[in-house]
């Protein structure tokens, strides 16, 4: 491997914020070369995911394998990705991010819900109907060491989608492959090499070239940089950003911490145990998170700007383990670890409520850090009292849960629906 000029890491979670505090953070590195991606909120959505569910059956052991339950890996998530936009999907390991990505790209057959891509519902299509849509929706994988077939040269890896979909005449496959290699910043003469001759970062570029080959409109990137060194993470994110601008591709960018998506994603959804708990535009999510889980995740991100405005936030340590998705807690799934949990949290599931122009949160006690309300903001709309018991006197309001954002929303301070002037 004479020309390997990137160092490699084997570990998957190489960015531990506590370890890299002295080195420039990923964000600082990224800031130097590229401006953060901005979002055009007037663009039409390319993907509308509504109440998507993905359950894996659990069978008993033994000869007669009865179904005894479900792993509720993804349990009703909704969001929109706008054209040219990129949504970050963030959450701890095991919360169902990959499953969500794989359900949308139809590596798995979802249990329910819909994922509208244009006027087609990706969830309902059969494998045969899906094939033409594969061109539009592509995926970048997490592990560059397992996402490339070690027995194929990179020319045949990148050429495969071209051949399967007959994208270019057979004779032009090679020149197109070389073009793609150049686009992702690799030497086009290396098309006949094998994956073992490339470093992690270079392999990830090969994976990106393969995804680009079909000229997709949407790319699901499942932790595309978490197996890479911090310095190489920045290069790969910059590359994705350039490609996004160049080819107008929308991204669903999956990551397990908030540091990685900050630069790339103007909108971010935070996931916990199969559900989205908060979704907002970048500024709101990083500066005024309203969900206790987002606040805890964010407190673990080293942040330059916060240092400037008076020191880092206190690190919020979450206690206990993530509960099993086979048997998730009743009510709010976060309640077993939430510092604010009260009675109502065990009884009623908090609905997803829009609380700002591009901000939704699912928590009974939604509020900025240190300013959480004393009584549940959701009680009235759910028709329950403050302890979560049904309140015969109250009239529940219809809670509209659409994947996108409305131009009216629920104001947390005034506790009523407001329409901005």
């Amino acid at each position: 491997m004479a020309d390997t000029d990137e160092s490699q890491t084997d570990g998957q979670n190489s960015v531990d914020p506590s370890e890299v505090e002295d080195a420039p953070s990923l964000d600082e590195v990224l800031q130097q070369s590229h401006k953060p991606t901005e979002l055009d909120t007037t663009a039409p959505p390319v993907l509308t995911v509504d109440n998507l569910r993905m359950y894996f059956p659990v069978h008993s052991s033994g000869v007669i394998r009865r179904k005894v339950g479900d792993v509720q890996a993804v349990d009703g998530i909704s969001f929109e990705i706008l054209r040219g936009g990129s949504l970050g999907l963030v959450g701890e390991s095991g919360c169902g991010k990959s499953t969500a990505g794989r359900a949308i790209t139809r590596l798995y057959k979802p249990t329910g819900g819909s994922a509208k891509f244009g006027d087609r519902d990706l969830v309902k299509l059969s494998t045969r109907e899906l094939k033409p849509l594969r061109r539009d929706v592509q995926m970048i994988f997490q592990d560059p060491y397992s996402s490339l077939n070690p027995r194929h040269s990179i020319g045949s890896i990148i050429g495969a989608p071209l051949r399967i979909h007959n994208m270019v005449p057979k004779k032009q496959t090679l020149s197109r492959v070389q073009e793609l290699l150049e686009v992702v910043g690799l030497n086009p003469e290396h098309y006949n090499r094998y994956p073992n001759e490339f470093s992690g970062g270079q392999r990830q570029r090969i994976g990106i070239a393969r995804a680009l080959a079909l000229q997709p409109k949407l790319i699901v990137a499942d932790e595309p940089v978490s197996a890479l060194d911090v310095s190489i993470q920045a290069q790969v994110i910059n590359l994705l950003q350039d490609l996004q601008k160049e080819f107008d591709i929308a991204f669903l960018f999956i990551a397990h911490d908030l540091a990685v998506v900050r630069h790339f994603c103007p909108e971010i959804a935070v996931m916990y145990l199969g559900k989205i708990v908060e979704i907002a535009d970048r500024e709101t999510l990083y500066q005024r998170p309203n969900h206790p889980y987002t606040q805890a995740l964010l407190s673990a991100v080293p942040d330059v700007k916060q240092a400037a405005i008076g020191g880092r936030r206190e690190r919020i340590m979450l206690e206990g383990d993530v509960p099993s998705p086979i048997n998730p807690p009743s009510g709010c799934r976060f309640r077993t670890r939430c510092p604010l949990a009260r009675e109502i949290c065990a009884k009623v599931e908090p609905p997803m409520v829009q609380i700002g122009p591009r901000h939704k949160v699912a928590c009974h006690f939604a509020g900025e850090l240190g300013n959480h309300p004393h009584d549940p903001v959701t009680a009235r709309m759910l028709g329950v009292d403050n302890d979560g018991n049904p309140d015969p006197g109250a009239t529940p309001t219809e809670i509209e849960e659409t994947p996108g954002f409305n131009d009216v929303w629920f104001d947390l301070k005034e506790r009523r629906t407001v329409k901005p002037s």
């Binding site: 000029d5 077939n149 030497n187 910059n238």
Partner: protein
């Protein structure tokens, strides 16, 4: 990225990443298989084994030719060369210029018999191995990729096959089996039918090991992201099984192949001893050894030469198999 790509494509991208684009060097590219071959070339013992294997293969391939031109003659008896007890009249088991390896108890040229015996034995072992490998690899891939009921059924068939008292059944069913083979394949009675019977039996009882190995490998390969990537591309089932997964199975296939060959060579010999298989006077390694056993203490060469040939085939194939395994999986033995 429209179909007519402007020259500017990736201009910006290339700018930011130019540091990682490796300089153009003309290092010859090596596939994993080529790397393995390079490792094998450094392994002296395996190379010697390979030499022997090639020698036996050449012997096997040339046998019909040399017989055709009459250069060897495995069937003609020379009663004048043996005494009434079946011992060669000359010393050293009758080794002479015209019979370099001596003669057998009825004066047939041992070298000629071995030459065509190796050919027939290797042919039977090879066909049996091929049959077992095809069955095992296909069923193993299907079992591993499909999972569920298919997997369970194939698993039970494997258990059943393994639980079968093979040798006993073989002996008991030999006559019925021969008739069945003759009906099914319309082979001429006698040795062709016996050969097909042997091959079918070896294949039908031999596939389980490779099927299990392949299934296990497929189970782990199936979770590798490149399989998902192929699905993402819209790859067909055929492409998934045979273009993505199969190339990653060459190591166990090759190793099992080189280990199964010698096992079947010995199986043929053992069966010949039990009276199943190719009939005299056609030579196979099993027949020759079988003929010689009763003369073992009278004419040592008559027994040792075929015995040594079988041993050499078995050992050289086994050593080559081990060498290939080490070359393909260099970390496995550290």
């Amino acid at each position: 990225m429209s179909s007519s790509t402007e020259p500017k494509v990736g201009g910006e991208a290339a700018q930011s990443v130019v540091d990682t684009a490796a300089p153009v060097t003309s290092v010859a590219s090596k596939s994993p298989m080529q790397l393995a071959m390079a490792r094998l070339r450094k392994d002296k013992l395996s190379l010697i084994a390979l030499g022997f294997v090639l020698f036996f293969v050449v012997i096997g391939l040339t046998s019909p030719l040399v017989t055709h031109f009459g250069w060897i003659d495995p069937l003609t008896t020379n009663q004048d060369l043996v005494d009434p007890f079946g011992r060669p009249v000359d010393k050293w088991g009758g080794i002479s210029l015209s019979h370099p390896l001596g003669i057998d108890s009825i004066g047939r040229d041992l070298m000629s018999r071995l030459w065509s015996g190796v050919s027939l034995s290797l042919f039977i072992a090879l066909s049996g191995t091929a049959l077992a490998m095809i069955l095992g690899v296909v069923l193993g891939i299907v079992s591993g990729v499909t999972g569920g009921w298919t997997d369970a059924i194939i698993g039970r068939i494997i258990d059943l096959t393994l639980a079968f008292p093979q040798t006993l059944m073989l002996l008991a069913l030999a006559s019925t089996g021969l008739i069945m083979v003759q009906k099914a394949f319309h082979t001429p009675a006698g040795n062709p039918t016996a050969a097909v019977y042997l091959i079918v039996v070896l294949g039908l009882f031999g596939w389980t090991g490779i099927a299990r190995i392949v299934r296990g490998q497929v189970l782990s390969l199936r979770e590798r992201e490149f399989v998902h990537a192929a699905t993402m591309m819209g790859a067909s089932k055929y492409r998934l099984y045979f273009r993505e997964i199969l190339p990653n199975l060459w190591a166990p296939i090759l190793v099992t192949f080189t280990l199964m060959m010698p096992a079947f060579v010995s199986a043929e010999a053992a069966l010949a001893y039990l009276g199943v298989g190719i009939n005299a006077p056609t030579p196979t390694l099993g027949n020759i050894l079988n003929d010689s056993i009763s003369y073992a203490d009278l004419v040592p060469t008559f027994f040792f030469i075929p015995g040594f040939t079988i041993a050499a085939i078995v050992v050289s194939f086994n050593l080559l198999g081990d060498g290939i395994r080490d070359a393909l999986d260099p970390k496995g033995h550290q």
